[in-house]
Symmetry: C2
Subunit: 193 residues, 2 copies
DNA sequence: TCTAAAAGTTACAGACCGGTAACACCCTAG
DNA sequence: CTAGGGTGTTACCGGTCTGTAACTTTTAGA
């Protein structure tokens, strides 16, 4: 009898994974630590033995999701070794998959919207992780031989960020439905210069 | 002795205006009705005499901000009567002003991120108001003589939406700093077709 | 098997939340 | 002047939240 998400692993791992899922679905302020621990098949005391506060748990969740995202970049390299342009197209393809169905968008962006306290510990790591992702995309564009790599990377970033939040306000049939077409024609346009 | 935001107007108006400001700054779940009424120079009972719940207050706030935004479109027409292309450039200019300093982005998008309950009354109006804004921009692009008006409007929408959320995660010096350049070169590119 | 660490259990503190009841007040229209 | 609606005040309800204390049970390793 498995608890679905929560297999019999170490409680800390179960809490981290369950928290990621619940924060994503219901928002950070929309889910309490009691609900997390119950869904993870453990209890509140155990959570507070592994994480010094809910805020720190949030930080760890964001780091974990960023680590998962980072692994996707490794797949790009594995699928198209050395072919940076193909990897860029793979990025577009992967990004478009994030826009299907009922996804609730980017956890880091959502957290930035939700956690308005300017001194919240998560704000630091959100900025760090987002900047790291940006530099990865810039490097990919540059290595793909595109002249204005920073500008293309930033444009693609904003398009994706916008598409992921647009989905949450008007749904997947809104402007975000055209993401792939926008991104591909942008890349073509930049390559033509 | 004026209370800053809260002049001596009708309590309902003060509550509405104060709530808009506080929801924008601290988020919806980040501010309680007590804090709103206190800042508005009134009390909780008066709030509940004018709004049947906090959720309904949120809805009214979103409608109010949308109405303000709608007034800006009238300015475009007033400043450049009949010249739809100039109005489109004015839109870009106005949009870029939303990206300066420490703005917390679009209230409707933020609310969509924050209010994860699928049956929240605000979700209806967010979708309605966002779709209305989209159609306005599509019409503007079309009337400006651009062929693929829908695609340009959607691209500009996603860019702005992305820029406004990017600001909240990495700040105004991130990708959103290039918004004007992106938007203008997009418009030029669409016009050249 | 014995031991020590990890995990579970129960109860609780203190704060905040949305929302309501009852009552006193004030200000304006008639 | 008076009546009545809008407003202010205080107190309260029931619920939820993060975080902690004290204690018991389970688990894993030597």
């Amino acid at each position: 009898m498995s608890d679905g998400v929560a297999e019999r692993s170490r409680p800390r791992d179960r809490i981290l994974e369950t928290a990621q899922d619940m924060f994503h679905k219901h928002g950070i302020k929309g889910v309490g630590v009691d609900a997390i621990t119950e869904a993870a098949g453990t209890n509140k005391m155990t959570l507070y033995r592994h994480f010094e506060s809910k805020d720190e748990l949030v930080v760890e969740c964001l780091r974990a999701t960023a680590a998962k995202a980072s692994r996707i970049w490794d797949e790009f390299e594995a699928q198209h070794p050395g072919d940076k342009l193909a990897q860029l197209h793979a990025w577009v393809q992967k990004a478009s998959q994030l826009l299907s169905a009922d996804s609730r968008g980017c956890d880091m962006a959502n957290a930035a919207v939700e956690l308005t306290e300017t001194d919240h510990p998560a704000r630091r790591v959100i900025k760090e992780l987002k900047e790291a992702q940006r530099e990865k995309l810039v490097a990919l564009c540059r290595d793909a031989g595109i002249g204005q790599a920073e500008l293309l990377a930033d444009t693609l970033s904003l398009l994706l960020e916008g598409a992921r939040v647009s989905m949450q306000s008007v749904g997947a049939e809104g402007p975000s439905a055209q993401f792939v077409r926008m991104a591909e024609s942008l890349i073509a346009s930049f390559r033509a210069r």
